[in-house]
């Protein structure tokens, strides 16, 4: 095997438990995920599956109780982020790894002007020419905000949701991070605005050459944005692979069922195929394969926890009976 350069970020066996206890409930468990430089990895899953927790663990911004329950390795650029001190982490945040939060309404401080909040980040960014003000204007321009000078003195509540999300983008990207975690950055936006923001993000990513972990529950967005996809269910990554594989040849029954249940504009069925039941809450996650109580193909074996099987190039799944294997066998 040829030695490929190590990925920019490599998570190994990352778990987050509620508190330091070994047998406390875990929000996410045994996550292995790698993100290469310049690559966009999509993280999809339903509400409560642990996507945000994973993102926050990467940023080391978990609330204190969960921070205590963080275990595993998060190797970023040769360093284990999970073992860094608070001060070292502050140095990494913003400059190396940055994040766009889900809620543009809440992520800007209502008290301070846009300009003020932008400059704070710029001040920490050593490189860049021009006065702080000029650089702030440039930052707003880079996210295509019209008449940026005037906007500098605006307060967040004076802007529309789409604008605010772009400002959040501008703030998160001021220091040209190498890895951006985008946690459902478009969920609260209108579809037409979402479309534009996604295009913008793609553009910026190309320009800055950064890697991106794109968290979403929208398969349409994933299809448009990502190179690789990881599907989460109940705190685990149940399937991971290149975007085309996931969409065209899903291996996990859950991925497959989800994709089927999405109505599309052009082919309305009379009824939608559904998955029975609902995703389990953290406190009631089943033993073995987390999905087996809802799975059409559940068997006795599914009571044992499946490990990740390789089902294709770079394509793994946590299922005892992967779809492709069956198809392949058939």
């Amino acid at each position: 095997m040829t030695t490929t350069p190590p990925p920019l970020l490599q998570m190994r066996n990352v778990s987050v438990r509620l508190g330091g206890d070994r047998d406390a409930l875990s929000l996410i468990e045994n996550i292995d995920l790698a993100i290469g430089a310049g690559e966009t990895v999509g993280l999809v899953g339903e509400s409560g599956s642990g996507k945000t927790t994973l993102g926050m663990a990467l940023m080391r911004l978990l609330p204190p109780l969960l921070e205590k329950g963080l275990s595993g390795e998060i190797i970023y650029d040769g360093r284990d982020v999970a073992a860094l001190s608070a001060a070292e982490m502050t140095a990494i945040r913003g400059g190396e790894i940055s994040m766009i939060l889900q809620d543009p309404m809440a992520s800007l401080n209502p008290i301070f002007t846009i300009g003020n909040q932008l400059r704070e980040g710029l001040r920490l960014h050593a490189t860049g020419e021009g006065s702080l003000r000029e650089r702030a204007i440039a930052a707003l321009e880079s996210v295509r905000i019209p008449s940026p000078e005037a906007r500098l003195s605006n307060h967040p509540h004076q802007m529309s949701g789409g604008m605010r999300q772009r400002v959040v983008g501008a703030i998160s990207l001021t220091r040209a991070p190498r890895l951006l975690i985008a946690d459902e950055p478009t969920t609260s936006l209108d579809v037409t605005i979402q479309y534009q923001f996604l295009e913008l993000l793609k553009d910026l990513q190309k320009r800055l050459g950064m890697a991106m972990l794109f968290i979403t529950h929208d398969f349409g967005v994933v299809a448009r944005m990502c190179d690789r996809v990881a599907v989460m269910y109940a705190g685990q990554i149940v399937e991971e692979g290149p975007v085309r594989d996931i969409f065209h040849r899903p291996a996990h029954w859950y991925t497959r069922a989800l994709l089927d249940s999405i109505p599309t504009v052009d082919r309305p069925p009379r009824r939608l195929p559904t998955i029975p039941g609902s995703p389990p809450p953290v406190s009631a996650r089943p033993q073995g394969c987390r999905f087996h109580p809802r799975c059409a193909n559940a068997q006795a074996k599914c009571l044992e926890p499946p490990k990740a099987f390789e089902v294709g190039v770079d394509h793994t799944t946590r299922c005892w009976f992967p779809l492709q294997a069956q198809r392949g066998a058939a």
Binding site: V191, T192, I193, R244, P263, V265, P281
Partner: protein, 326 residues
């Protein structure tokens, strides 16, 4: 139109809001005409702030229009006698978007479902109990669930309870304001199926509000598209989702990303921001974002013209006069 259960005629709602210290008019809904026929589903699509919820509230008589009127079985709602009003309350029931705020956390599910029945005097206690059980089963829950509190249910289950409540009084019309937007994908499909079954089973008329064309396509027979409080296109669901006439509808369609990595990029991608309803553009409300706009769009507001797909669209490009000129 005769036979419509619920209609709107020139329905408008203007909110007085304080903005920058000044009292300003916010036209949330303007001159909306619709007719809802028994057993048919009318889809309403549009982006945030275009007035869908306001329209819904007006149709539910939760809000009073500043102009125009809502008609129930051909009678103006403002002058409905008490008896007919009660009849209206029974016949028209809503399901809202947020299943968490739709259920009073301090009431048992049974009481929640019984609430619309409480205004029907002739029902006995036993009948109410039976009805609660019936509707719970109709939405895929168990009779015993009536004794539990809402917080014991997941979001999807709550939405089912909300639906059970809505159908308890055997309504003829369901007003569905984004009933699945806050649901997970796997739950969304379940709820949509339930609604569809109910539609067929009871012959319910529905108003289905959503910002997602795909779900509207799945649920509705007819669709209206709203932009800044106005209807800008109307037609059958299929027509709107496959051969839309209005540039805005096309932009909406383009922005609805299909779950397919190989889908080609759209030819007319959406651009621009939605203008503030406080300061709507002159002429065609969409002209600030329209890639096809020409001079006339800035100053003249287009009326509804017949569209090739059989419905109508408020776009100057469809003006027969204009066509003749060319």
């Amino acid at each position: 139109m005769s036979g419509a259960i619920l209609s709107a005629r020139g329905l408008s709602r203007v909110f007085k809001v304080k903005h920058n210290g000044r009292q300003q008019d916010l036209h949330a809904v303007s001159e909306v005409d619709i007719d809802l026929l028994p057993g048919r589903t009318l889809g309403v699509v549009g982006e945030s702030g275009c007035g869908k919820t306001t329209l819904n509230r007006l149709l539910l008589l939760l809000d009073t229009p500043t102009a125009g009127e809502v008609q129930f079985q051909g009678e103006a709602s403002a002058t409905l006698p008490p008896q007919a009003r009660r009849e209206f309350r029974r016949a028209v029931q809503p399901v809202f978007q947020n299943p968490f705020s739709s259920l009073d956390p301090r009431m048992r599910v049974g009481r929640i479902i019984a609430e619309p029945l409480s205004t029907i005097p002739e029902l006995t206690r036993q009948q109410i109990e039976d009805r609660i059980g019936e509707v719970l089963e109709a939405v895929g829950l168990r009779r015993e669930d009536a004794r539990r509190f809402p917080n014991e249910f997941s979001g999807g289950q709550r939405q089912r309870i909300a639906i059970a409540r809505a159908i308890a009084s055997r309504p003829r019309v369901l007003m569905l304001d984004e009933p699945v937007s806050s649901q997970d994908i796997s739950i969304r499909a379940q709820i949509l199926n339930i609604l569809k079954d109910l539609q067929e089973e009871y012959g319910l008329g529905c108003v289905f509000i959503s910002h997602d064309l795909a779900t509207v396509r799945f649920m509705a027979d007819d669709v209206i598209v709203m932009y800044l409080g106005r209807i800008i296109e109307r037609g059958s669901a299929e027509a709107i989702c496959t051969t839309p006439s209005h540039p805005y509808t096309r932009a909406l369609l383009a922005a609805a990303l299909p779950p397919d990595p190989d889908a080609p990029p759209p030819d007319l991608p959406p651009q621009g921001e939605i203008p503030s309803p406080l300061d709507p553009p002159s002429g065609c409300p969409y002209h600030t974002r329209c890639p096809l706009r020409f001079d006339r769009c800035d100053s003249v507001r287009p009326t509804m013209f017949a569209a090739p797909h059989g419905g109508g669209a408020a776009c100057h490009l469809l003006d027969p006069e204009l066509r003749r000129e060319h």
